[in-house]
């Protein structure tokens, strides 16, 4: 093989670089948590934690359509509890710390929903 030393070294370096993320994750350093602060007074959200984590945005969209278009402003959860459908008056009652809850996770995930151009963050002063 012509120039075998250089070629094989090159391939090795390439492989190490390619797989470096996997090695880096092996160092034991945990995935950085977003560090969100959960509401203190309430233990359970409308539905269970996994569902809310994965689907809260779709649930909110559905709530919006049900409330605004079909006048269904009452949501009965799987555990039988009844909730008034309102982002501002129901969700934000418990999740009243925007900076430590909504924002931390949204920024970590690079999503910038524009809920707050209209909906009012509790305690927030405009301008």
């Amino acid at each position: 093989m012509y120039n075998a030393k250089a070629v094989i070294t090159g391939i090795l370096i390439f492989l190490v670089l390619c797989t470096s993320p996997f090695w880096a994750s092996r160092t034991g350093k945990d995935y950085t948590k977003t560090g969100i602060v959960l509401p203190k007074d309430e233990k359970n959200c409308v539905e269970n934690r996994d569902f809310m984590r994965a689907e809260h945005m779709r649930l909110l969209n559905e709530w919006r359509d049900e409330a605004l278009r079909r006048e269904n402003r009452l949501y009965t959860a799987t555990d039988g509890r009844k909730w008034n459908i309102s982002l501002q008056n129901t969700c934000l009652k418990c999740h009243n710390n925007y900076k430590e809850f909504c924002q931390k996770c949204h920024v970590a995930n690079s999503v910038y929903p524009y809920c707050w151009t209209c909906h009012i963050i509790p305690g927030e002063k405009n301008q």
Partner: protein, 260 residues
Amino acid sequence: MNKSRRSFLKVAGLSVFALSSGMAAAPGTAGAQIAPGSYGRGESALHAKRWAMVIDTRRFAGPEDYKPLIEACHKVHNVPDIPDAQNIKWFWLDSYEHTFPDDMNTYLDAKTRSASYPLLCNHCTNPPCVRVCPTQATYKMEDGIVAMDYHRCIGCRFCMAGCPYGARSFNFKDPRKFLPATVPNPGFPTRMIGVVEKCTFCAERLAVGQMPACVEASKGRLLFGDLEDEKSGVRQALASNFSIRRKPSLGTQPGVYYLI
């Protein structure tokens, strides 16, 4: 292998039928509900087949009398006061000529002609704004209320061109800049720059068993109720008084009646 055209068509037809019926039986995923719970209406919610309003203008002495109504409306809905042509109008006043331009009576009594008339969204039976909205951001609900979904509004302003009553306002500026630092009603959202807004007949208040804010502030001079219920206050007021509506010749069938 000796397959006739006839037998081939038979098998093909049967296969297509079997496939299509199988697909029809499969659960559709597009329109499926996401939430595991169920939706319903609140126990205290007010219901009607067709909400309507009757405004007894005879019992208002002048424009000052309408002030508490306008203030109540604007406070409940965080409506800003922008002091120029870009103002946001939910409930406002105008002259007789502008309110009832169809009336050609030259020798109308001075009192009727010089009075101010309260204007708001007419919540038409045939709303032109709903027909022209390209995103269905505005729509008619089954109780007759013409509602707005600001999430969906793209600010094209077709509805403003479509509305013959000027009942829609565009947010040329960020409305929050014209509201006090703490909004008047923290329980209701504001709007954002670039969306159209209008009176909602207080759908959010009806849902919790309250009358619209202006009706509540009017001390009985504004009536609100079900137009299809013969015993309702609005129907009785219409049955025993002469009433007019704005621009009836357009056929939009407004839900706001004026007792003159």
